[in-house]
């Protein structure tokens, strides 16, 4: 156990987490140069394309230190996005140390701080790593000052590296060996292991990623998950060297995996404790939470024939994504679909993209909604996440919406614009402090719904990309909620309804109408598009009727061309949703969700 070091890498987005991981894999010989590719630990296409990590993963790095001792360094790669902050926190629990990577040209950012506090909470040994020292704009001394001032860490312990150029990587390994304490634990005690993620394998079922704190586990053992009391027989234990590498057993202090005939990842829960069925540990590890989705949207297949396929696809994604929830939903306008719950907008986008790419589905999404708490006059309370379920306003006594606490770090020159943005979004300022002469940290309480709606893009654009942002959930607070309906040709399109703050109702309704007008092709008749609260129309646009759709020249040589054009037109029509007697293209539904910047 003395030669084991368990660590993770945490960083603000784009500060070089994956590049450092790649270098560690190369220098320790886990991957040869010929099999190397960027972002080794991100195996999903979508992770690689977007440069993000969604799933946690571990890998053993064998390293012979300068002291001649052979070490086993377990690197646990964690997601980097706030959507997955619970997953990150569990991965941190599995470690004794963390490399906190800071971009030498950007310095400490909001997620640097958020990750730092999270690591601190888990009592991890934190090693600051100043990356990208090869950049002309790198200012190592300034970053060291920030490390001292913002993080309260010893700047002398910081390792200055360039992961891209491979400079300083060995120093990082030495720092891990010397600064991160070896794991503690009792190999003879009953098994106590933490699930920090799980993956689904089509041949073996769920692969559970574990960190053992006490005891040991080997094939043949009957194990028990303490959250749901389910028991399984272990088929295989092992560690990851990128690929799975079976080992006869896993012992206290180690990081590895077990396979135990578990059908879906939903049967295992990140943060749960694994113990032996016949010799259980006294108590479970602390901090377990059942992650709950916070953002909801309904997914409908464009072609109603694809409904079954969508159901199958969601089931398949769910095998590997326990935090995705879905249930049947029905819309008068769009037919059968699913109400899906996500950890955040990134999670939603990832699922949408995978459904469209891996399962070749064309989807219509409804506007993402948060969960509202609705209190009735008779004292009853319900939670709703779907505008379609919004009760008769006459019966409603109050509504509450979820708030988050956001930490924003911005260069001073954008401070005014950032504060204005937050206030526009109904934010309440809680704190403002100068990190140094030019950078300010702001803390705002903001309604989650406002943050979902293009907040991050706006923040980036008003600060020319310099402001950084992180958030955590706070509580539900009383709000003035209304339901805005959209009517196309006087028919209410339920899939376009949204729950918004009363102050926002007019602008959101107007915006939806304008965008729909742009996207819905002209029809044979005049089509009014209206936004309404109850029976009251609050916004209106009109699509004038189509007057011309004609092929002027049609002689011998034009017939083939014309038929092709007509076929194309017909195909296009097939991809539209018929709502009443209006054909609405998929793009119209998506346009309503788009942010200003995307236009």
């Amino acid at each position: 156990m003395d030669n084991i070091r368990n660590f993770c890498i945490i960083a603000h987005i784009d500060h070089g987490k994956s590049t450092l991981a790649d270098r560690l894999l190369q220098i320790t010989g886990v991957v040869g140069d010929h099999e190397f590719r960027d972002q080794m630990l991100d195996t999903m296409d979508i992770e690689r394309e977007r440069g993000i990590t969604i799933k946690s993963q571990s890998v053993v790095l064998p390293y012979t230190g300068r002291d001649g001792v052979q070490y086993r360094l377990n690197l646990i790669d964690t997601p980097g996005h706030a959507d997955f902050s619970y997953e990150v926190s569990r991965a941190l629990v599995a470690c004794e140390g963390a490399l906190l990577v800071i971009d030498a040209s950007q310095g400490v950012q909001a997620q640097t701080l958020a990750n730092f506090y999270m690591a601190l909470e888990q009592d991890l040994e934190i090693i600051p790593v100043i990356n990208k020292i090869d950049l002309p704009a790198a200012d190592v001394e300034l970053v060291k000052t920030q490390i001292k001032k913002d993080l309260g860490l010893d700047p002398e312990s910081a390792v200055a590296i360039s992961a891209k150029e491979g400079v300083g990587i060995e120093e990082v390994l030495e720092a891990i060996v010397h600064l991160v304490p070896p794991p503690k634990g009792d190999p003879a005690a009953p098994l106590k292991a933490l699930i920090f993620d799980s993956h689904w394998d089509p041949y073996r079922g769920t692969i559970v990623n574990l960190r053992l704190f006490d005891g040991e586990v080997k094939p043949g053992d009957m194990i028990r998950f303490m959250f749901n009391n389910a028991s399984y027989k272990v088929e295989e234990t092992g560690v990851f060297l990128i690929a799975r590498q079976p080992r006869p057993k896993l012992c206290a202090g180690e990081v590895g995996y077990i396979i135990a005939g578990i059908k879906t990842v939903s049967d295992t829960r990140t943060g749960d404790t694994v113990t032996l069925a016949d010799r259980p540990c006294a108590e479970a590890l602390k901090g377990f939470q059942l992650v709950k989705p916070v953002v909801f949207s309904s997914f409908y297949p464009i072609s109603s024939d694809d409904y079954e396929e969508l159901a199958v696809a969601l089931e398949k994604l769910k095998l590997n994504d326990a935090s995705l929830t879905f249930e049947k939903d029905h819309s008068t306008a769009l037919g059968h679909g699913f109400r899906c719950g996500f950890l955040g907008l990134l999670h939603l986008e990832v699922v949408q993209e995978r459904l469209e790419r891996e399962f070749d589905l064309s989807l219509i999404l409804t506007a993402p909604s948060v969960q509202y708490l609705i209190g009735f006059k008779d004292g009853q309370e319900i939670i709703i996440d779907n505008p379609a379920k919004y009760p008769d306003p006459m019966l409603v006594a109050y509504a509450k919406e979820p708030f988050i606490r956001a930490a924003i770090i911005t260069p001073e020159q954008y401070l005014g614009a950032v504060i204005t943005l937050c206030i526009e979004r109904r934010g309440v300022q809680k704190e403002m402090k100068y990190l140094d002469t030019s950078r300010v940290e702001l803390v705002f309480d903001l309604p989650l719904a406002e943050v979902l709606f293009d907040f991050y893009d706006r923040l980036k654009s008003i600060s020319r990309g310099y402001a950084s942002f992180d958030y955590e959930f706070l509580e539900h607070r009383t709000t003035d909620l209304v339901k805005v309906d959209i009517l196309v040709a006087t028919e209410r399109v339920d899939a376009l309804s949204m729950l918004v703050h009363a102050d926002r109702a007019y602008s959101r309704a107007r915006r939806s109408c304008e965008r729909l007008k742009k996207e819905i092709p002209r029809q044979l008749f005049k089509v009014p598009i209206q936004g309404a609260i109850g029976g009251k129309i609050i916004a209106r646009e009109t699509i004038s009727p189509l007057r011309k759709d004609v092929t002027a020249k049609c002689y011998g040589g034009d017939i083939t061309r014309k038929k092709k054009l007509l076929e194309k037109q017909k195909e296009g029509k097939k991809r539209m949703k018929q709502v009443g007697n209006v054909s609405i293209p998929q793009s119209a539904f998506l346009a309503v969700l788009k942010t200003d910047e995307e236009e």
Partner: protein, 394 residues
């Protein structure tokens, strides 16, 4: 859907012959057609190749069968710019056709003319070669608009050519105009139309602009150099055109064509009336009754084929009776007179009315067409929105 299974009709009309002349000196901005730069030796090679193609067709038994009963009665030189050819070259092609295809008496022989390419003596030569109908591509009577279209001539050029045609004895002249070009106004379109009517041609074609993918115009619109044409304005211009021409005695007989009875284009009517026609030359299309074909568009590929004794049809689409029946509907409805559903039904041995009701019945309330017991025709509104109807049949 009910089972409609038409059968192939018997052909019962004379053949039309189209000769495609692919050369252009410059390319107009709205054009995406395959054309070749003009040069003297390329034209000579082209003439030889087309004569070869005519000979190859003469050996086709299927064509002989088509020709034996009714012969051919129209010949149309289109392009490209056929007026770039010398009269003797046109004559050579004409004679080659006459040797192989039995022509009816007084066939309609049309030449498309670009005003910048023919002077008085050339026009006379064309008349002497045996051409009896001219289609003059004026497009607009506004020099600014002509320049915007990339046309290589001025209004003055066009007026002179028209005058030359009349002097040479052409008593069947058609004028082409374009409606809805970016920059055109309702007023300028009216002025062009008035000028066209004042010349007193026998026939007028007005084509609402289509922005074709691959044309210079398309690129200019995409890059924001010019505004996309206003569809509503185009619709207004079109309705103006229809009423002004009707007043002046040019009855509309097809979506884009206007002429008094007796001056309609016999050749073009074949396309709309489901009649077979032969297409000669690169990129020419033909319809044999059982198939539609397109010759190789590339001049070199076309020449290679005929020089190796092969008909140069690059693509062939065999009809099924059903496909031909649907095309007959689509093409026939372009005519203002509409379709006699009883005759069409007899021709294809189907219940044409039931088919129409089943496929477009729901559009009746939109006022796009008028359906009586035995007759179907588009309304004026329906002609402007004809693609809505036609998409139901592809």
């Amino acid at each position: 859907m009910r089972d409609f299974s038409p059968v192939f009709p018997r052909e019962e009309a004379s053949l039309g012959i189209y000769v495609h002349v692919p050369f252009c000196r410059t390319r107009c901005h709205y054009c995406a057609f395959s054309t070749s730069p003009y040069d003297v030796s390329a034209v000579e090679r082209y003439i030889t190749a087309v004569k070869r193609e005519i000979e190859l067709w003469s050996r086709e038994p299927s064509l002989q069968e088509l020709l034996s009963d009714f012969g051919a009665d129209t010949l149309y030189f289109g392009g490209g710019t056929p007026s770039l050819l010398e009269p003797r070259q046109i004559q050579e092609l004409l004679e080659a056709c006459q040797q192989v295809f039995p022509f009816a008496r007084n066939p309609e022989i049309t030449l498309e003319i670009n005003p910048a390419t023919a002077d008085a003596s050339k026009v006379r030569g064309m008349r002497d070669a045996g051409l009896n109908r001219a289609s003059l591509g004026i497009q607009s009577f506004d020099d600014t608009e002509l320049a915007a279209m990339g046309r290589p001539h001025t209004v003055e050029d066009a007026l002179r050519t028209f005058d030359d045609l009349r002097r040479a004895g052409f008593d069947d002249i058609s004028l082409d105009l374009i409606g809805g070009f970016p920059g055109q106004t309702r007023e300028s379109a009216r002025r062009s139309l008035r000028a066209a009517i004042d010349l007193g041609p026998e026939h007028v074609s007005v084509y609402l602009l289509e922005v074709k993918e691959g044309s210079r115009l398309d690129a200019m619109i995409r890059s924001g150099q010019i505004l996309a044409p206003d569809e509503d304005l185009a619709a207004d211009i079109y309705l103006d055109v229809c009423s002004s021409l009707a007043e002046a005695g040019y009855a509309q007989y097809e979506i884009s064509n206007f002429a008094p009875e007796g001056h309609r284009s016999k050749h073009n009517l074949k396309y709309w009336r489901d009649r077979p026609y032969l297409g000669l030359g690169p990129a020419a299309h033909g319809m044999t009754g059982r198939a539609r074909y397109a010759n190789a568009a590339d001049v070199a590929a076309y020449e290679r084929n005929v020089n190796e004794d092969r008909l140069p049809a690059g693509t062939f689409m065999d009809f099924t009776p059903d496909i031909r029946f649907r095309e007959a509907l689509i093409m026939g409805l372009r005519l203002v007179e509409g379709l006699d559903l009883v005759k069409l039904g007899e021709r294809y041995r189907v219940d044409a009315r039931a088919f129409v009701l089943e496929t477009i019945g729901d559009l009746e309330s939109a006022g796009l067409f008028v359906l009586s017991r035995d007759h179907l025709a588009l309304t004026a509104r329906g002609r402007l929105l004809s693609n809505i109807v036609f998409t139901r049949w592809v």
